[in-house]
């Protein structure tokens, strides 16, 4: 009986998840407003400093091992918070790109395609980076680098700026704002 119960429960759960995702998808398709508000700013330079291995090495040399582990964990938690915001922004930019893809203008479509692809790569990288950060939280002395995330983030900002410029050439100030996501 146990196996049957496990399989029936699994099937019901899977069906529940799929139906929920289907509902979420239809709700998203209906309303794409408010995407702009979902983008949260990231101080890229501060994040770059946080992931700088030289700073970690400096702290490792200057602090006693126990204190270093405490500081390292705090820095890793801060890193995780940054990466989560980057991941969330990437998800919003995928949707922004999808909306722009429907514009019909070939230049906007190309730029939007680039934004979508960069945002997806960023989302993939943030997933890997988060996994590594959580691993590093368990073993603070292990090495870690999230440089690829920040590089991808800057590349994505550039692509999003181009898309913004194509969508609304009259409002150039919007372009630069994206750089500060």
């Amino acid at each position: 009986m146990n196996l049957a119960i496990v399989l029936v429960t699994t099937a019901v759960l899977a069906l529940g998840i799929i139906l929920r995702l289907a509902v979420v998808r239809s709700l998203q398709a209906r309303g794409n407003t408010g995407l702009d508000a979902a983008i949260r700013p990231i101080d890229v330079e501060a994040f770059r400093n946080l992931i700088n291995p030289a700073e970690d090495e400096y702290l490792r040399r200057r602090l006693p091992p126990a204190q270093y582990r405490v500081v390292r964990r705090e820095r890793l938690r801060a890193m995780a918070a940054y990466v989560q915001v980057a991941a969330s922004n990437a998800a919003v930019l995928v949707r922004v790109g999808e909306v722009a893809l429907a514009s019909g203008d070939s230049r906007i479509t190309l730029a939007a395609q680039e934004v979508v692809n960069d945002a997806l790569l960023l989302r993939r990288n943030t997933t890997v980076a988060l996994a590594r950060i959580y691993l590093a939280l368990a073993w603070p002395n292990s090495g870690f680098a999230a440089v690829r995330v920040i590089d991808r983030y800057e590349q994505l900002s550039g692509a999003a700026m181009l898309l913004g410029r194509l969508q609304n050439p009259a409002v150039p100030v919007r372009l630069s704002a994206l750089q500060w996501m």
Binding site: L21, A22, N32, L35, A91, L120, R124, N168, S176, A177
Partner: protein
């Protein structure tokens, strides 16, 4: 009413397959078979396979042994059709996203391999529900197929949700119908293959057939009636305070 060979039983066995054949014909007429060749093949061959099985159930000259042999052969055809259909769903979903298509393929293939092992493991622990290996084997095969199918479809939905991939309406409809069918069939076949509810098998058959009927209606709606939803193009408005910060920084840069 809820008994084998009742009017409802005949209707639920035949109607979905006739509708599926009709859907296949309409898809061909509208040229959708070029866009969804695997689903069109699934519609035609799946419906024919079920109707053959229905005929075999009614025909007095078909022995029970032969009926189960036909059922097993139909399942083997089902495996091929469903594998190609899942491949088609995935290529429609990820085809436009070159940056993660490879990753998606690897993830789904990996999950598929794990599910095969899980399904084989589950089959190994099943208590046979019938002394005939042909019948219990067919039940086990059903459980195994639907376990893998529902797991792979769930992972495709989760993958798409995680990366916020946009489904086309038709691909979404096909996936939704297939997933509902796979999950309900997994539950019922798990109960049957493990030898439970022996006295209420007809109820489980009705549940399977009714679910399949609903799924065929879902496919008909999404493939023939539903319009492709195109998102409204809108501009990205960004928070004001960011603009101020950036402008301040730019002014500082200019005056340096």
């Amino acid at each position: 009413m809820l008994q084998a060979h009742s009017f409802l039983w005949h209707y639920l066995w035949v109607a979905p397959d006739v509708l599926l054949l009709l859907l296949g014909v309409l898809m061909r007429r509208r040229g959708l078979h070029r866009q969804f060749p695997a689903f069109t093949a699934f519609a035609f061959l799946g419906a024919v396979e079920h109707l053959v099985l229905y005929g075999a159930d009614l025909a007095p000259w078909v022995t029970p042994q032969n009926f189960w042999r036909i059922a097993c052969a139909g399942l083997l055809v089902d495996i091929v059709l469903k594998l190609s259909l899942i491949g088609e769903i995935f290529s429609h979903l990820c085809g436009a996203y070159s940056s993660i298509a490879k990753l998606g393929k690897r993830v789904i293939q990996g999950i598929g391999v794990v599910l095969v092992f899980v399904a084989v493991g589950a089959a190994a622990f099943v208590q046979r529900d019938n002394p005939s290996w042909l019948i219990s084997g067919e039940h086990l095969l059903e459980q195994t197929i639907f376990l893998i199918e529902s797991g792979v479809l769930l992972s495709i939905f989760l993958f798409a949700a995680y990366f916020h991939l946009a489904w086309s309406t038709k691909t979404f409809g096909i996936s939704l119908g297939l997933s509902i069918s796979a999950c309900v069939h997994l539950a019922t076949w798990a109960v049957i293959a493990n030898g439970y509810m022996r006295d209420q098998r007809a109820l489980l058959d009705f549940l399977n057939m009714a679910t399949y009927h609903v799924c065929v209606l879902i496919w008909m709606y999404y493939l023939l009636l539903a319009r492709e939803k195109s998102p409204r193009a809108s501009l990205v408005r960004l928070p004001e305070h960011n603009l101020e910060v950036l402008n301040h920084e730019l002014e500082r840069l200019i005056h340096q």
